[in-house]
Amino acid sequence: GAGVSQSPSNKVTEKGKDVELRCDPISGHTALYWYRQRLGQGLEFLIYFQGNSAPDKSGLPSDRFSAERTGESVSTLTIQRTQQEDSAVYLCASSLEGAGARSTDTQYFGPGTRLTVL
C-alpha cells in the first residue's frame, strides 16, 4: 500500500484482557517503530525494529508489553493483562533507513489504534 496501515483503528477491552495491535509498514522500509500517545501528551517511544537486528526495546514500559516483526513486514504489538493506564493511541511508523543519510530516516506514521481499557 501507499502508506503505513494499522488495525484495528479502535479497540475497547476490559482490564486484564490481552490485546494485539497490527502494523503494516510501507513496502521496502526496513525500520519500524511503535509509539504511544496518551491523552494530552506527546508521542512516547516504545520499540524499534531494524532489519534482522535485535530490536531496541528500551521504551517498553513493562514486561506486559511485547512486539514482534516478521522479516521486514508486518509487526504486532501485544499488551498482556491490560490496565487502564494503557489507554492511549498506539502509533506505528516506518522509515527507509538508508545507509548514512538522515533524510532517509524520515518516519512515516500510520493512523494509529485507539485503545481504551475499561
Binding site: 503505513v4 525500520a31 517503530y33 509509539y35 494530552g40 501528551q41 506527546g42 508521542l43 512516547e44 517511544f45 524499534y48 531494524q50 531496541d56 521504551g59 502509533l91 511508523a93 522509515s95 533507513e97 538522515r102 533524510s103 530516516d105 524520515t106 518516519q107 512515516y108 506514521f109 500510520g110 493512523p111 494509529g112
Partner: protein, 111 residues
C-alpha cells in the same frame, strides 16, 4: 524528564499572518530535528527537518530555525492558512533512531 518541550499548548493566528511555533530541548546529543503535523484521527505527517550542522531550512511556506547554543528551534509558517490548523509536534533524534517528541502545540488559523 522531558527532553523536548513545547511550552505553548495552543496558538491562534489570523490567516495571512506568520505562525511561530517554539520548541526547546535539553539533550545536547540530539543532532537531527523534525516537525510533524497531526490532524485529528490521523497519524503525524512529516513536515520539515533540520540537521544540527545547519541553522535554517526552508521549504515553501515553512522554515525551521535552529539555535544550538540556546537548544531552541522554531517553525515559521508564512503566510498562515486555515488548512494549517493542526497539532504541531517537535521531535529530535541522536544516535538512537527513535524520535523524542514534544507534547505538541495546537495551531488555529482564523479566517
Amino acid at each position: 524528564d522531558q527532553q523536548v518541550k513545547q511550552n505553548s499548548p495552543s496558538l491562534s493566528v489570523q490567516e495571512g499572518r506568520i505562525s511561530i511555533l517554539n520548541c526547546d530541548y535539553t539533550n545536547s546529543m540530539f543532532d537531527y530535528f523534525l516537525w510533524y503535523k497531526k490532524y485529528p484521527a490521523e497519524g503525524p505527517t512529516f513536515l520539515i527537518s533540520i540537521s544540527s550542522i545547519k541553522d535554517k531550512n526552508e521549504d515553501g511556506r515553512f522554515t525551521v530555525f535552529l539555535n544550538k547554543s540556546a537548544k531552541h528551534l522554531s517553525l515559521h509558517i508564512v503566510p498562515s492558512q486555515p488548512g494549517d490548523s493542526a497539532v504541531y509536534f517537535c521531535a529530535a533524534s541522536g544516535w538512537a533512531r527513535q524520535l523524542t517528541f514534544g507534547s505538541g502545540t495546537q495551531l488555529t488559523v482564523l479566517p
